[in-house]
Structures are given as C-alpha cells and as structure tokens.
Symmetry: C2
C-alpha cells in the first residue's frame, strides 16, 4: 500500500451490513506478496444486477465476460483480483475468466452466468488459470456480511487508501442502504464507468430499472472525472440489489418512489469518483470545474472533460499559473459549440473574464491566493445554451513523471 | 532563447534565396525584451497562397482573419509576431489584426486582403493596436531575400533552436526550391496544421492546386505529430508560391509534372514537424510509431495519435517501462476498429506481441536496450485492414511538470 496521498481522505466510513451480501478475501499472489488481493462477494438468491463498463475496444477478458452475461440481470457472486488486469492476454485470458466463473458457480451452487469477474492491475501478462479457482472453495467457507474495509482493501492496486461510501434512502416507508466500494488512481478517463466499483443495496429493484438508475448516476459521477485522460481497459461499475428490504414494489424507472434512491445512488457514485481523484498519482490539488451555457448537458461534460484532461491545464494547476488561456484552448479543442465572444470565466467565484476577453481589473491577488490552495473551484460559461455539467480532476504534480 | 534541448538539431540548413520572397525582422516588444519578435515577409506580385489552420473553435484573431481572406488565394505579405498569440482577446484582438493588415497594405501598396497575419505566444492578453503597425514602414524599407535564419529566429517562443528545411524539386525541366521555417514546442496536437509554419517556393502553381498539395502534405506531417495532445488556438501553415520559376504550366493537382514537387513539399513539412517534436518541452526521446492493419489511413492516424498523446504511454517512454499495455489501452480508447485477438507489436524491430498476447520468449534484453536509447521505433498492427500511418512524438520527462 502506497503512503497516503495528500488529498486522500483517511477515514473509511461506518458501512452498514446489507442483508444478502457477504465477503471473503485471500492472498492469491497473482502479483502481490504479503497482502490480500482476491475478493469473493457472495450475493443471495434473487439478487438483481446492473453494470456499466469501459467502452474501450480492447477491453479486458473479464469486461468481455461481464458484458456477455449482464443481460441475464442476475448475480450470485463477484470475483475480483488486484495486481493483474487480465487484459491483452488473448485466449488464455478468456480461459482464466471462464475457469473462475465455473468454479465459483460450483462452490456456490449457481449458474456460471451468475458469476461476475473483475480484474485490475498490469496489462499484457497471463497467469495460471488455476490460481484464482483454487482459492474459491476456501473463500466460500469464510464469507461474512460485515467486512467492508477488508473487501475495499483487497481490490487496491496503487491506491493509498481503501475507498467506501455509504448512504441510506427512503423507498415508501422503508429505509434502504447503499454501500459502495471502489479503487483507482490512474488510467482514469471513464467512458461509461471507471476502474472497479461495486455498489450494493438491499433494495428490491428489477435489473432493468437498476440499469437505468446506474447509467444515470454514472453519467453524473464516474463519467465526470478524469485524471490523465487515459481510458482503462478494465473500467467496471456494478450495482447489486439483494431485495432483502421490505418496501412497495417498484414498477419502473420513472416510479416516484425511486427518487430518493436515485439521489442516494448518485451521491454514492460521486463520493467514490471523488475519492479516486483525491488518490490520483502525483496530485496536490482537487479541482472542481463547472461548465455552463453549453448546447446540452453532454456538450457541457465534453467541454469539462476536455479542459480537465488537458496536460497544459493540469500543469497550470500544479504550477499556480493562470489557467484561462489553457481552458480556452481546450474549449476550442473539444469540438463543442461555444461563442468565442461570450465566454465568461470565474476562479474561486471571482470574475476573471467576461465576453471573450480577460477583465483588465480582475482581482489578481485573490485569484492567485485561491489557485495556491488545495481545493480549486473554476467556472466557465460558453455562451450558447443551457447545458451544464460539473467535472472533477486533479492537478498534475512532478510525481506524475 | 532556451538552452538547446537534447534532441534538437543545432544546424540550420543552407537555405537558397527564393525569387520574390524577402524578409525583415524587428523587436516590437509585445512580450520580449532584447530580441527580435516581429517578422515581415514580403511577397512579389502574383504570389499564390494556400493555408491550413487549427480547427479549434476558439481560434485566435489572426487565424480568424486568415480563414476569411484565404479564398482570395493571393498574398503580398505575412506579418508574424511572437510572444502574444492574440487569442481570447475579444474584439480588441480583431482590431489589432485589421490595423496590422491595413498598415502593411499601405506600405507595400496592395489590398488588406493580401496581408496574412500570424501570432504565437500567451493567450488572453491584449496589447496596443499601434505596436505592430508602427513598425511596418521601417521593416518594409529593410527587406532582404536571404535572411532565413533571422526570419526563423524572430518567430520563436520557447523554441531552443530556429527551425528550417530546404528541398528542391523538378517541374518539367526546371528546378524549383521549397524553403520552410517553423516554430513550436508545446500545445502540439495539430488538427489540420500546427503552430506557425511558413513554406515558400518559386514554383508557379495556382492557389487551388497549392491548397490540395498542402492539405495532402499536412495530413502526412503536421497532423502526424503530437507533443502533449493539446491543440493550439493559433496553428497555421502557409505555402506561398511566387511563380518566379520558369516551368511548364501546371494544369491541375493531378498533373504528373507536380509529382516531384509534392514529394519535396511533404519532405519539408515532415522535416519541420519532426523539428518541433525534437524541441518538445522536457523531451529526451524521439519516438516513431508505425500503425498498420487499420481500417483506413485516417483510422491508422487516429490510433497513432491516440497512443502518442496518451500520458501513460509517454510516461512509459520516459521511464523505460514496457509500453505495450499502454499502447493497447490507447488503441481501445481511439474508437477505431481493431481486432483484440490479432494485435501485433514490435519494439525496435523485435517482435513483442503476436495475435493479441505478449510473446513468452520475446527478447527482453534487446527490447530494454532499445527503449533506453534516444530514438525509439515502435510498430503496431491492429489486424483489420490495410490502412497505415506513421506518427512522431516525444516522451514526457520530468521537465514537463
């Protein structure tokens, strides 16, 4: 485990047990020595699952498998290993995933297609197809419902802290819990989801409805963060609903009873996303960037992501240089509509540019003081519409190479 | 002028005078003290011009002006200043460009629309609209045909060396000369052209034909380099043909007599592009990346540019780490078709991966020795078609921040 990074929050939250979810971890030694690197999450019968995955066309073997089985909507287990991404491993990689699903299905007593697999770590190295399956019977015997910190720790790679977020939501008169764990510090520029993130709830929601809620939340969280602009081969985000809670039946994704659940789910996803940015390699500043006035929400997000992932923008954040020239450059590069003569920029709430030009008398001392801090707030209005989005990123300090 | 960077070539070539092109330089002090930062290129009557510009939607005021007047196809002057890009300067920036064109037209005796303007430097700062026009009469009195080094030096910003390339070509029985000068070290990820580059020839070729030849050459040179993936607001590439040479009339862009000219033009553009990469901020390795087996030439270039601009790929080059995992990541991110199970990768001509997986017994010592050198050669075949492209980039050393 790396030394805790300056922006990473040390405290792991007090997660609540979720009926129908239990975990066990082990050291299988795919890549690491002397630490846990394998996680089995066992899910009770009837658990519904939704997922979003990297759009990478060179996705890893586990992502390929999960995409195939996701339409079934049912999950009894998730097997996660850290240290090797099982990507660019050819047919040998597919064999590892199939052997893992088969063995997990045997020990749990379910179908292979109810076993999801996720891997994270180095790309382009195979490993023995017996390594993970050989541990699954032992793991199955030891599963426990209340070991969230251990679960979050077993999936870490270059993370300096385990990452977890908990929220509750009301559905009808019932209170349901949503717990999320995640990992990631680099190769972060999600396209549908990022890194490995697992969200569990005891709510009773059918897979098709879960999927809509998860996609919506991912679009406002994981798809709004970027570290260095590189999209991983392994990005996976799962939402598992065990259905143990007693609440009125959910009839569809527009059911008003689902509103508070969706709010809480989005908060869990935003919390995990921000924890990843705070644990970014070489980061010393956490940057929140609001984009307004775009042609659509999607356009605003594209502009925000283009700014946030631009090398020269990130260098300006690290070196306390005025960022607006590089923000403008990135707006132009984004390909989205913007009115050059109506661009407005604020730094830390202080107006810096209006109508396409830097203000002569902007508060230079105030702006510099804000940019020297570790929590930066930037706003840009591109002057063409009502689309808006917020994205989060980090600066790029010397540690990045 | 920065200290010469390790990959930059020190020698400026022996440029030949081109009849109909003359230069003068001055220190106008827009940004720098104690050096020339303003260039007037005067062109003889009848000079035809072609240009390609950044596709940035927040293009600078000079780019906006040049896009407007380019359809005229005629040029009598180019005015270039270094130190201030005149971008994100609102209407004040447009006023500076118009005043510059108007004054240059007066002193030369031509139309405003025959005066092209290019600016490079900081974004978001205005300057007095009198500064550049006030110098033009004096410059006009001092123009000389054989001061290529001085011309190339006056347009430098963070460049550590002036950049020039010269070639000759046969058109019919005549020999024509093509001289190019350029500048640039960062914000390099061209979309149609990069930075400021000026190519001059004495050939007699109509503007419409020149434009086709230039676009073709730019697609195989400037559009194939990337430094940090950030597209400038100011990228401009001009090709001016004075028509002083005596050769058979060129009838169209498919005229066989033009073939050797196009070959030489492409060589000039590739030479200038590579000089920019060699002068990149913080670079210690020059990387040539061949992409084959793509669906089209355009797809191959997109894949190449996505790999070459990926932060984690560049870090792997700087730190002598195996790059293939990050190459695969970038192929997946590019959005172009690739067959995961048919990907082949060579490093320095040595096979490293075949059919989508790393070879067990690849020459690890040979590959490491090659990656430690300063000239890296990588090849990737994505296994779907016959499209190919070569792109050039640098690593990203600690100097980049």
């Amino acid at each position: 485990m790396a030394r805790r990074k300056p922006l990473a929050k040390p405290a792991f939250p007090d997660m609540q047990p979720i009926e129908g979810v239990s975990f066990a971890t082990a050291a299988c030694g795919v890549a690491y020595k002397g630490r846990t690197d394998l996680l089995l999450a066992e899910l009770r019968k009837g658990t519904q699952i939704a997922g979003v995955f990297t759009r990478s066309l060179t996705a890893s073997a586990p992502v390929k498998w999960c995409r195939e089985i996701l339409p079934g909507g049912k999950a009894r287990a998730i097997v996660v290993n850290a240290g090797n991404a099982n990507a660019f491993t050819g047919r040998a990689g597919d064999d590892i995933v199939r052997a893992t699903a088969k063995r997990a299905a045997e020990v749990i007593g379910c179908r292979d297609k109810e076993v999801f697999v996720a891997s994270t770590g180095v790309i382009g190295q195979t490993f023995s197809p017996k390594l993970i399956p050989g541990k699954l019977a032992g793991l199955h015997r030891r599963v426990k419902p209340d070991v969230w910190t251990e679960a979050a720790a077993a999936i870490m790679t270059t993370d300096s802290v385990p990452k977890g977020v908990v929220r509750t939501a009301r559905i009808g008169d019932a209170t349901v819990t949503i717990n999320g764990i995640g990992k990631g510090t680099q190769m972060i520029h999600p396209d549908m989801a990022t890194t490995l993130n697992f969200v569990f709830t005891d709510a009773k929601i059918p897979a098709a409805v879960l999927q809509k809620a998860l996609t919506h939340a991912a679009d406002r969280s994981f798809n709004c963060i970027t570290i260095e602009g590189d999209t991983s081969t392994s990005d996976s985000l799962f939402l598992c609903a065990t259905g143990a809670a007693r609440h009125p039946r959910i009839t569809g994704h527009r059911d008003p009873a689902l509103k508070d659940f969706c709010r809480a789910l989005e908060e869990v996803c935003i919390g995990l996303s921000q924890a990843i940015v705070r644990d970014a390699e070489g980061a010393s500043r956490f940057v929140t960037l609001h984009v307004t006035g775009a042609a659509s929400m999607r356009a605003a997000r594209t502009i925000g992501r283009t700014i946030a992932s631009a090398t020269l923008f990130k260098v300006s954040m690290a070196e306390v240089l005025p960022p607006w020239g590089r923000m403008i450059m990135a707006v132009g590069k984004s390909g989205e509509k913007a009115d050059r003569d109506r661009l407005d920029i604020d730094v830390g709430g202080m107006p810096v540019a209006r109508e396409g030009a830097v203000l002569g008398g902007y508060d230079a001392a105030g702006v510099e003081a804000h940019l020297k801090g570790s929590e930066i707030e930037l706003s840009i209005d591109v002057g063409v519409g009502r689309g808006k989005a917020t994205v989060w990123t980090s600066d790029r300090g010397k540690g990045y190479g």
